[in-house]
Symmetry: D2
């Protein structure tokens, strides 16, 4: 596929995700981690404008110089910005302003892509596409949060006949042998800088379950007092449970004795066979501890994942998000993409039902703070 | 005017205030004191539904039973509610949902008002109208905050040829004699319960300025180091100045050495003759102290106001918001209207450019916490 | 009594209050309102050093120039200081350092008082004595807090045979006639600046109870669900109750179904006849509201107090702490004594069992924020 | 050495550390991480009482049943406890109470140690000794914080002729070969459970500096704008710098243009040759980044440390504190010792000048949150 087609396809997908929204849904930011959908649409556009059009497209005229302040996420190199907690306080630019901004930049990118791109430009172009795909996943998870925390529980879409959740019941443990394994990206396609630096690790014998933990299994943990018995938890996790009065995964609601969960189709009875989701690392760890098992490391996961089906949930690993040996961040603003977050976070591997197709790799390293659960996170056990 | 005409007129005015808004402007809540415009439109509607239609209109069917949770402001009697800080996190009900709710309730009220009203119904009806007028003022002040704190400084309306601000320069002190005065509402029209209990107070000789303090005068205070000299301030005020890094009234911006201020027409050079506004009680007190004068009490104000023009700014008084002798709150939910706020607040007297016409009285007692300044507040001095 | 004797007597009393303490008890600051006893001993000494010895005693050499930083309470005029929350973080100066500082200053004051004092010096001298007496009351209330919030509940003193609490059961309402009354200090002795400006107020008919509310009466309020029924409370009070999970006065403990209260003699069964104490203004107001009565204003109290016994509890009034007509704060640091606190506080009248003898007046205006209750506060009702 | 001699020696050392203290120094807790010295003395005693005397010494009678509440640190298994932030609010038990408690428990331990100990008892006994040694280090670091943050900067001890700081200037890089290495404790003496599970890791070629970073080198980083250039920092580190206005290591003071640092001997001119200390992981990382180098992993450190001198500073590593393969926490309360902290922390390796002699091992894993710096932390670089 030629570059301009790829570009159009990715850009359109972001807008398709937003099609079911009402204008008001584009605006709010109920928690700091959730950005307003119109902010995502503007920010991904700003990314192409800032890192490709401004430096490389000579005739390009910036759409609105104030937008740099509004749509810069965290790039200190690029100047000051709306503080993150304030994104939901901005009624302007309006949704139609943002779409007009997208059109303007898309037109300019269309022109730009008629040129022959240098290697540097190509790298930035593919980074821009992958960046937008990451925000597509965030768009979906943020929309779910916005609607799922509304007291009216509006549905995002009509009931789907085919569920994405497959059977989780018949899990088995798959064994792997002690030895030296290679970790990290080795192909020629796109990958993020944090996957590079393919290197060797020594793994001891381990086994990993072929399937994710189901809601049914997680409910057993709850019914066995999982949230009230400190022995399963990290000290920080136990504080988190008590300070936030956590008693179940996010989006679970106990209605007259039965568990319901908010889904994109609205509030539904809990599907026992579906893989449990919207749990924090603390909960994943506590569940594993209750099972007298543990979470895999990201290295075990990367080795093992060739032998099981993955892609339904982001799977919490025991690994902290750290640089691979030989990791070097790029110079300038792009160097802020990944490296500066390599502390205080946990690695998640896999992908989720919200990940755009074509945006998953066995070497992909996702990362979040251990208390977060608005993403489609899940649990796979190791031993 | 007959009841149904009064009703329609008041209700329409709320919607007229919102006409210049874009949908997104209805949604956000940048600070806890500012409610989203769509919430004001819904809440005032809920007030008629809850206190008139539900108890007195037999055939009335509640529009949406979830709305009680969404649009109840602070009436503990009426059940649980969205916590105040979360009003800006709700994308639904949408703006058009809220307008549909208004139409439905307006239709039912139209039917209801064809009946002969009992005294109790009439009282609640006029309370509902005055309640909506109070929210009309809040709508304007909240819209100003939403737009005026947006980095794009969008205008709410086009330039007006006629300014509401009159000349403030030629102020003189008017003297009043020591003696017994009567305070509180004594007419037969509508008033709030907090104005009732007309009673005597003893006032000592005092004088009050015939005019409000201008921006020019306030700027002298700033230029004389008013915000950096603790001697003018209350201890709590001094903490407020330092913790919030206050250096000027709200909406003032120093742009390349010149003061600008955000107005409904956008960012404008500061009008030196206009009455200073958007200042906290702490600032009003410090300014008065810097002038070696003081703020009037609400009793002095009520006595004196017959002799000067007022209505441009809510004027901070030195009086704490306390019950008049013999104040009794009404039974039930309506009793929560005023009484439970009679602590920790300061009385403001007068009215502002945002007050709907017909909604001001010389006995009217407005009240806010001493640090708030998003209302059109101003300063009049006494001695 | 000559000045030096008065001085010695007041200064000794502070040290007598601390006699039962162990060294460790002098050091801690469990909440921001409670200062470490050694801080009180140092601060009152610093007051004489700063406002009398340094400006007026030529040969005086400052004991330790660092102590200005340590023992300045809130006088911006006098320079920077340890932030209030940090008083309990300072192990040095040690207790014996502080006593040595007291001796040094007392010696210098002894010398100084041999001179003839000007009027200004006399004023500051008596202010210093009254200031120390105020801190004597704080010493006692802070010691009670320090010991009473320790899980070991150590006693401050042995059981006393004679209780200070008199019978509260047989209260009656005393009536007062509408008319003009004079308020404020008119004598020739010492008073604080906030009592000056004797002036007229107009009071309407009112009556006041001859006695304070007993623990028994307050327990009825609790048992009737007083803390769980919002209708009795101010909105701010209701938030305070819920945020702090308040269910009884401070120092009350429910031990196996019976109420105990921490006293200076340790944990004791609640004395039903004693006047209720350690309640906030919010609680006093809610109790009065539950009785379908109200709290008196400070003016009513000052008029009525000639006709009942008072001095056992600081009695919450409905009045906000505001300047009397004609109030003028003194120039310089002394002007920071009272005036800058005249916002956001409530007036208490009377005195308490912790007030030093000779330090109470019918015109005395004490003041605290409405949520505070570590002082010996109580309730008297009006109508 | 026989058990009882070892016991006496360790226990005495804790008291020797406290000898220079005044009673007041035992009491305060200026930040949550710093415990009052008397709390350390009591808590280590409670450890022997709770885990040895109560379960294994039949005749033992608990000294004071309230002390379990006061001196339990974080063992949920053992019941409720004073919340950590409140340790500095307790004036009782007094310092002499705590010493009496120590004597009582020491006497009982003396009796107990006359028996033959089972393996389980021995394990707990050595855990108790090592636990006390860990608190000896904390005692010193907490005392430094208490005195070093006092505005009077009292010294803990007299000047020492021999400094513990050796020359840091002549550092060289030592190289290590790629390959499989064994990590973890393999001896027969005491070690903590987190060192067990000796296992293989694969390391790539790396080199490590033979010496720690000096104050002189760190000052270059400061003078080059290290604290004001975001590119060196993690995003979380950059927030930490700005929120806390960090401009230098803890205890550094700029006095009239020259750097001083608080030491146990009081405030001293900064010793340029001494190893920099009291820096957070964020600072260590930023410094390394500024040098275009990195911090070692804990595995690299354990391999390399045989070839350089260590023990002066706890050295921040890049490694997150995670369980070794096969880590199993002990059952019961002892299982809470290490395992539940294995999230959100960074590993430090080495030892410090405050570490008791005999309490360091090449496999020892210390851990702290990345923002903490009251320990004697330092920097060694890798490549």
């Amino acid at each position: 596929m030629i570059f301009s087609e790829q570009y159009i396809q990715v850009r359109k997908h972001s807008e398709q995700i937003c099609e079911p929204l009402q204008t008001e849904d584009y605006v709010v930011q109920p928690i700091v981690d959730v950005s307003p959908p119109k902010w995502h649409l503007g920010h991904t556009t700003w990314f192409f404008e800032t890192f490709i059009l401004k430096p490389f497209h000579k005739e390009y005229r910036v759409y609105n110089s104030e937008y740099n302040y509004v749509f810069n996420s965290y790039y200190e190199t690029i100047g000051s910005r709306v503080i993150r907690t304030d994104r939901g306080n901005l009624s302007r630019p309006s949704v139609s302003d943002v779409y007009a901004y997208r059109s303007y930049v898309d037109m300019a990118m269309g022109e730009f892509l008629k040129n022959t791109l240098t290697e540097e430009m190509k790298e930035l172009f593919f980074l821009g596409l992958n960046h937008e795909q990451q925000h597509q996943e965030l768009l979906l998870t943020d929309i779910k949060y916005i609607l799922g925390n509304n007291p009216l529980f509006p549905a995002y879409r009509k009931d789907e006949t085919m569920s994405l959740d497959f059977e989780t019941a018949t899990s088995e443990m798959i064994s792997f042998k002690e030895g030296i394994y290679e970790i990290g990206y080795s192909g020629t396609g796109f990958c993020f800088d944090n996957e590079l630096g393919r290197h060797k690790v020594y793994l001891h014998d381990f086994s990993m379950s072929s399937n994710l933990i189901s809601n049914a299994a997680y409910l057993e943990f709850i019914d066995d007092g999982g949230y009230t018995n400190f022995t399963h938890w990290h000290a920080d996790g136990w504080d988190w449970v008590n300070n936030n009065k956590i008693i179940a995964p996010m989006y679970w609601h106990l209605v007259e004795g039965s568990w319901y969960t908010y889904t994109f189709e609205g509030l539904k009875p809990l599907d026992m066979k579906a893989a449990v989701t919207h749990i924090s690392y603390y909960e994943a760890y506590a569940f594993a501890s209750w099972c007298k098992m543990r979470l895999p490391t990201e290295f075990e996961w990367e080795v093992a994942a060739k032998q099981f089906k993955w892609g339904l949930r982001w799977e919490w690993t025991e690994s902290a998000y750290l640089p691979y040996p030989g990791f070097n961040k790029a110079p300038g603003a792009i160097g802020e993409y990944n490296g500066k977050f390599m502390v205080n976070q946990k690695v998640l591997r896999g992908a989720s039902e919200a990940t755009p197709s074509g945006h998953s790799r066995i070497t992909y390293r996702n990362f979040f703070h251990p208390d977060l659960r608005w993403q489609f996170t899940g649990i796979r056990l190791a031993q």
